[in-house]
């Protein structure tokens, strides 16, 4: 197993800065997700790590070895492509064994190994099928088997689940995670689906427009988002954002917007690392951290969306809409007047200009 280090990595395509000064360390055996919307540079980063793209500047290290000039075929990596990229003219056995056949291993050896890895992925009954005769899920397992057969020191997955149907995706999510832990291969995967990243990865690197926004465990990203982008990208339903001002009132702080004002909890105030130059801030609160029924914030129910276990209620205050996740045991109806409150220690505060979090970051604290 290896660790991967990206040092000041830049990849430009003409004027387009696909990856802009990326610094990232992926530990041995770690399962790292590169997360971001399309065009954020995550696939470019993956293809640069694989060696298909040469960095415009910066370095890629496998352990302590700089690999910028090593071609993909010599990097000993396994890769699963979004399209699976199975060779359509070879059957499953030949597809899986292809990396070993290229090394001119005797048939006895590659056959045995291919059957072994096929068994591991439960596709050993499909060995004589052609790729066109397989379902999406089966094709993915074949692609994974082909990536694993040469025992790579690094596994790269490009949107591994995006071509599967919703149900299968949830099954494969768990299976991939378990497989990665069993094999212990350092794995980097690219996804635009925050749920996939949250559920599978040990750590997530969030990218936007080629720039790294935040790296951390799923919990860190969820509880301590570094900026409005990360806060809005992670979590469903997404976080509520309200623009307002931060005012000092005696020894405490008050968040004030057009429709309400709330006294900030002592815990929140202590987390504030620096106060914005202007008092212009954005308050963020997750739908599950809003409590209905009591509190000084009063609004009118705009829409009610039952989701089974929970109900998502949208409450309107003038031109501000707040989504609230409530238990479905209490019924609400449109137009009803309600009051609500925010769980005081769950409130996030961002600079209104830079959209950066005002809080001390988790690792600064420790």
């Amino acid at each position: 197993m290896i660790s991967v280090t990206l040092k000041n990595l830049k990849k430009y395509f003409g004027e387009v800065r696909a990856v802009d000064n990326l610094n990232l360390q992926i530990g041995e055996g770690e399962f790292m997700a590169l997360l971001g919307p399309s065009g954020c540079g995550k696939t470019t980063t993956l293809l640069t790590i694989a060696g298909f793209y040469k960095p415009t500047a910066g370095e890629v290290y496998f352990n302590d070895r700089m690999v910028n000039d090593i071609p993909p075929r010599s990097r000993n990596i396994g890769m699963v492509f979004q399209s699976y990229a199975l060779y359509p003219h070879m059957n499953v056995l030949d597809n899986i064994a292809f990396p070993l056949k290229l090394k001119k291993q005797p048939k006895k050896v590659w056959r045995k190994k291919a059957v072994e890895v096929a068994k591991l992925l439960q596709i050993d009954d499909l060995l004589d099928r052609m790729p066109a005769q397989l379902s999406g899920g089966q094709q993915q397992r074949v692609a994974l088997a082909r990536a694993l057969i040469k025992q790579p020191q690094l596994l790269l997955l490009d949107e591994p689940l995006s071509n599967l149907d919703a149900k299968l995706r949830i099954v494969m999510r768990a299976e991939l995670k378990r497989l990665q832990k069993d094999l212990g291969i350092t794995t980097i995967f690219v996804t635009h689906d925050q749920m996939e990243a949250m559920t599978m990865a040990d750590r997530i690197a969030v990218l936007k427009s080629g720039k790294l926004q935040q790296v951390g465990t799923p919990d860190e990203l969820y509880d301590e988002p570094a900026n409005v982008f990360v806060a809005s990208f992670i979590g469903t339903p997404p976080m509520n954002f309200i623009r307002g001002s931060l005012l000092k009132s005696g020894s405490s702080y008050v968040f004030e917007c057009e429709h309400f004002r709330i006294l900030l909890d002592e815990v929140v105030v202590q987390k504030i690392r620096r106060f914005p130059v202007t008092n212009n801030v954005i308050l963020g609160i997750r739908p599950e951290d809003v409590e209905m029924g009591r509190g000084e914030i009063k609004g009118e129910i705009y829409v009610v969306e039952p989701m089974g276990r929970d109900t998502l209620v949208t409450v309107k205050f003038g031109d501000v809409y707040i989504k609230v996740l409530t238990s479905s045991t209490v019924k609400y109806s449109i137009g009803e007047n309600v009051s609500l409150s925010f769980k005081s220690d769950k409130v996030q505060l961002f600079d209104g200009e830079t959209e950066e979090s005002l809080y001390v970051k988790g690792r600064d604290e420790r």
Partner: protein, 304 residues
Amino acid sequence: MKNPNITDRKYLALSVFISPAVVLVILFYFVPVILTLLIAFTDMDRSLQWNFIGFDNFAKLFGLKGKDPFIGKIIKNTLIYIAGALPLTIGGGLLLSILSMKIDRNAGVFFRAIFFIPRAVPPVVWGFLWVWAFEGTRYGLFNAIRTALGLPVVHWFIKYPMLIVIMANGFLGISLAMLVFSSAIASIPRDLTRAAEIDGATDWQITRYVIIPMLKWPILTMTAWHLMSFVNSYVYIMLITNGGPYYATEVWSLYAYHAAFNRYRYGYGASLITVLVLVNIALLFIVLKAFGVRKMLSRGKIEV
């Protein structure tokens, strides 16, 4: 009384629309084919008399009754010509397309454009370029170079007539094969060659195990196409050597042309062509069989 049926009227309308094309096909395709077949069984000559002689033409052709002294030579020429021009076309087309797709995009387009020139010039120009280049006097291109270097002139058309004819037709074939193969290579998903690279394949291995197998259909099409083309077409040979010197480059189709339109043995020429058509049909079946068309067209066992 029966009402006019709407479906009948629709069919009538469709028939009216399609009839001009049908008439043209019948007039200029089926009628000539049938006429050729009929003429093959006559000894029609310049006098254009229909005098049926049964299988005499074919018997002469196969040496059963009377003998055509040139047939052996013609068959040998045809086989050598095809055995030379077909591999040159397919191999050259493959090589050029793979190389030109591998290099810089603009340079690739430039090279493909150069190799496409033969297709763009009129046949007569292409033919005479070769005549001029290999002219046996010191005025020919290559002999002019040799003369300038102080070397004696070479009588190219006497020494290497078949080679020149094969190259002239081969380069023409290459231009089309290269174009078809290049677009097929361009349509191979990039993930596939990337996957092969990750799997450890060298450039040669990617070409051998991924790109060429994926060109199976274009290669089949181009092989069938050019096989038929080389068996049947004689235009460039006629323009460059006209079958000479002394039957050295006279292939079957050109021989049939000469029999009919130079020596006015219409009956015999038609029988030569009839045999050629049968050979064509046989070849087509062999080519399709060799590439396992039935297997490739069969239904997959898809399980979703």
